[in-house]
């Protein structure tokens, strides 16, 4: 008993750590922000650029495979980017129009009707000395489309009918039709060495255990020096990389740290040098440190509350609009994201060129929501829940269990809706169950989010043909279908903008989703790492250009 009292006294005396209003102390962390990418932060003298040093970066889970066509994890893909660069790299400049491309493996390209001619750079060579040729490209395309390999991203190559080898460095991509994203589809699959990967037949790829031994033949700035399963692997510079000035950091260690919290503790204690996806509530602790730099930008994603448009209550778009009016989105953004998110009104994210930024989110107006429902024949029942034709306004709102933020969003939304007499019953589900149910149309309402591609294509999410697929809300609006069909292949930018503008106007009126927020991606790096620029396309895109000044190298 006495022990317990002492314990309690100790706890009381320790005060309130991190409780309210913690100021980012003078001399605290700098925050570099931006929209699609962080601004360039050049706090160094160009003469200080040096090679050498070691950087330790965390991974939430081990790379699931060192074969890019067998891997499904996003983390692994970021690492693969340092080993096998893409033919072209998208630039994060999609706010004025579709993104532009920077050369990587391919240094010249030309789009001619239904064909794209690409030229591989002359100095592109595999790390074992064999030059990178079109044979590798053709092999990679075959791997991407092979049914035994079953690459989940294989639909990127659906329109590519043939890879024609012109000569060692030139090849032609033949498409089945012309469409605005031909170039994007030409470069989203990695080029792997046919003379190494080709030794194993495709139907034996899935069971092959030693892909990490194969991963030392690369074309990118780094290659794998050592790999300790589920612990860490070390990347060292590939001396055959075409840019002789890069990479600068000579040891990049990727450590597997399974918990986000442990990663954060390691960041603060110096165990790792950078971290992605820092939680908004932890930003305060980062800002109190002067040796860390915050890099934030608008993430390519949004969170929403979805309504099943075939449901007897949510069939009516005005009812859905009332739901939006009744949920206090500002409170959600403020309380859960500490300012690192913004309200939004459209499934086309605000940094995208096609977004109609003149559409403002519906205000938080409980009275208006109540009025709409009253007009629709809903009256207050004995216990405060709205009733119409003897049926109560109650439904299940599902979300994926284990996600803190979503759980809190559901609590807040539930409370907001209860104020106008709507009974939302939270139901946490495992995400695979949730997606199965959504595809089958068995959910009434749910809270989830989408990552969006740099292609503006709302077909999978809102086209009536995608009902049973990713059109979870089962919205079937013929005008919307038309707009999507024309908008996704419209080559003229202004015409496309006009089409998507109309799409968004209808979306705003009918609210098949209540868009809740657009989060910011919060990343931190130690101030020792210089020349860091993070963008929403590929966070480690400019990693080869990072450097550590001579005096600070370890």
């Amino acid at each position: 008993m006495n022990k317990a009292i002492i314990l309690l006294a100790l706890l009381a005396a320790c005060g309130k750590e991190g409780q309210g209003g913690g100021a980012a102390g003078a001399g605290g962390a700098i925050e570099i922000t931006g929209e699609m990418s962080t601004a360039a932060y050049r706090d160094f003298d160009p003469a200080d650029v040096a090679r050498g040093g070691r950087a330790i970066l965390p991974l939430l889970s081990d790379v699931d495979s060192f074969n890019p066509y067998l891997s499904t994890s996003v983390d692994a893909d970021e690492v693969h980017g340092l080993l096998w660069p893409l033919p072209l790299q998208e630039r994060a400049d999609y706010h004025k129009g579709p993104p532009s491309f920077a050369p990587r493996l391919v240094d010249r390209w030309e789009v001619k009707g239904k064909t794209i001619a690409m030229h591989i750079r002359e100095d592109a060579v595999w790390s074992d000395g064999v030059p990178v040729t079109s044979k590798d490209v053709e092999f990679s395309a075959r791997a991407a489309k092979d049914p035994d390999v079953a690459w989940p991203n294989s639909s990127i190559l659906d329109q590519i009918t043939r890879v024609e080898i012109v000569d060692d460095k030139n090849y032609l991509l033949h498409y089945s039709e012309e469409y605005p994203y031909m170039l994007m589809d030409s470069k989203d699959w990695r080029i792997i060495p046919s003379h190494v990967f080709g030794k194993i037949p495709f139907n034996r790829w899935k069971g092959y255990p030693d892909w990490d031994k194969v991963a030392h033949v690369v074309s990118g700035p780094y290659k794998v020096e050592s790999y300790k399963h589920n612990e860490e692997f070390v990347l060292v510079p590939n001396d055959r990389y075409w840019d002789k000035e890069l990479p600068r950091i000579s040891r990049v260690v990727f450590r597997v740290i399974n918990s986000q919290q442990t990663q954060f503790d390691a960041l603060l204690s110096g165990g790792i040098d950078a971290m992605q996806a820092v939680k908004p509530k932890d930003v305060k602790r980062v800002k109190a440190r002067s040796d860390l730099v915050l890099y934030t930008f608008l993430s390519r994603s949004y969170g929403y509350a979805g309504w099943n448009c075939e449901h007897w209550i949510f069939r009516d778009p005005e009812v859905r609009r009332a739901m939006t009016l009744a949920i206090n989105r500002k409170n959600i953004v403020e309380a859960l994201f500490y300012g690192y998110a913004q309200e939004a009104a459209s499934p086309i994210i605000s940094s995208m060129w096609a977004c109609d930024r003149s559409i403002k989110p519906w205000p938080f107006d409980r009275a208006a929501a109540a009025k709409i429902l009253a007009e629709r024949g809903w009256t207050k029942g004995p216990d405060g829940v709205l009733v119409k034709d003897g049926k109560r306004f109650e439904f299940y709102i599902s979300y994926n269990a284990g996600n803190e933020i979503r759980e809190q969003i559901v609590q807040l939304a539930r409370s907001d809706l209860r104020e106008i007499g709507v009974l939302a019953k939270p139901r946490p589900l495992d995400s695979n169950v949730l997606s199965e149910n959504l595809q089958k149309g068995e959910e009434e309402a749910w809270v989830w989010g989408w990552y969006v591609a740099t292609k503006v294509d709302e077909k999978p999410t809102f086209h009536s043909s995608s009902i049973g697929g990713f059109n979870y809300c089962r919205w079937a609006n013929p005008r919307i279908d038309q707009l999507i069909d024309t908008g996704r292949i419209e080559p003229d930018l202004e015409k496309a903008r006009a089409i998507w503008k109309e799409f968004q106007a209808i979306f705003h009126r009918e609210q098949p989703y209540t868009i809740l927020y657009e989060p910011r991606s919060i990343n931190v790096a130690h101030s020792r790492l210089k020349n860091v620029e993070m963008n929403s396309i590929d966070i480690y895109d400019n990693l080869p250009e990072w450097f550590i000044p001579k005096g600070l190298q370890k």
Binding site: A150, R255, S269, P460, F470
Partner: protein, 317 residues
């Protein structure tokens, strides 16, 4: 004895087979599939379906087909492949089991040493203040939710005082034995202390029962010192129940403490189990079940044998 062991082992195989089948059926009949990680916006439904088919989850394949395939794997001694992690289950176990063992063996040692000591002291000093305090403390510990004890230890020693690390099995820099011990202390204490409380209670009543026995009175009457009476005569018999129960700790050793591991981020069997169930990763779940069940059976067999060896009155049937 030999026949007894053989019969139990044979029966054990049957039980394991039954349990594996039940697990498989349970995981398969629950809605959900192991493919929740496929979240990239570039993946179309058709491509994902093809990927699922390549793992045996295509529309033409039923759970029964997957069960047959799994039985084939088992027959070859292969524990199958994890879909969610994209690797062989045996290699996952090879990573997870040693971590779990490190924790559970340490906790078991703490449990036995602390528990027996406290139980004996308590029994010898029955009706004194010491006994009352110890019994009270052990009641308190015994009534605590395990997850709460873990959280409180983490709160006091890791979060507030900062003396010990909060998560994981070692620091990212992997700095050796001291670092490893620092990470071990909190989860080990969380697991061991609560178990020690219940061992202490058990040990105390066992020793109290033995002390009342006639042969102890005889030993005292013979004029032997209290010390000899207790340590040479009483303890031997009083420790028996605890020792024979050792076998029953075996399953715990391997299955780990699911909750404690997840609170402390300890990368062992417990974490793997939770993740596998959530992911519907059926091969991993059945592998974990096989390990757990086998350990339960071996453990109870060992316990029964020890009991028979140690107490000649017991006949193994």
């Amino acid at each position: 004895m030999f026949a007894f062991v053989v019969r139990r082992l044979a029966w054990g195989v049957f039980i394991v087979f039954g349990v594996v089948t039940l697990t498989f059926v349970a995981v398969e009949s629950v809605p959900g599939n192991p493919f929740s990680g496929l979240q990239s916006p570039k993946m179309t439904k058709e491509a994902i379906d093809r990927y699922k088919a390549s793992w045996g989850y295509g529309p033409d394949k039923t759970g029964w087909d997957r069960y047959k395939i799994y039985m084939e794997y088992l027959a070859k001694g292969d524990l199958g492949r994890s879909v969610a992690q994209n690797r062989a289950v045996s290699s996952m176990l090879r990573d997870a089991i040693p971590n779990t063992l490190k924790l559970t063996i340490a906790a078991l040692l703490l449990d036995l040493v602390l528990g027996v000591l406290l139980g004996v002291i308590s029994a010898l000093r029955q009706h004194t203040r010491t006994d009352n305090v110890l019994t009270g403390v052990s009641l308190f510990l015994y009534s605590m939710p395990g997850f709460w004890l873990s959280l409180m230890l983490a709160l006091v020693f890791a979060v507030k005082l900062g003396w010990l690390p909060r998560y994981g099995i070692h620091s990212p820099e992997e700095t050796g034995l001291l670092d490893y011990l620092q990470h071990l202390i909190l989860p080990c204490v969380a697991l061991g202390v609560a178990a020690a409380a219940s061992t202490a209670r058990f040990q105390r009543s066992a020793l109290l029962e033995v002390i009342r026995m006639d042969y102890i009175r005889t030993a005292r009457a013979k004029g032997l010192s209290e010390r000899t009476v207790v340590w040479k005569h009483a303890m031997r018999n009083a420790l028996l129940p605890t020792i024979t129960l050792l076998g029953l700790y075996l399953p715990f050793l391997f299955s780990g403490a699911i909750i404690t591991e997840s609170i402390f981020g300890w990368p062992g069997m417990g974490q793997m189990t939770i993740k596998a169930i959530t992911d519907r990763d059926v091969h991993v779940v059945t592998a974990v079940t096989i390990v757990g069940t086998t350990m339960v059976l071996i453990g109870s067999l060992v316990a029964d044998i020890l009991y028979a060896v140690v107490d000649p009155r017991v006949r193994l049937s």
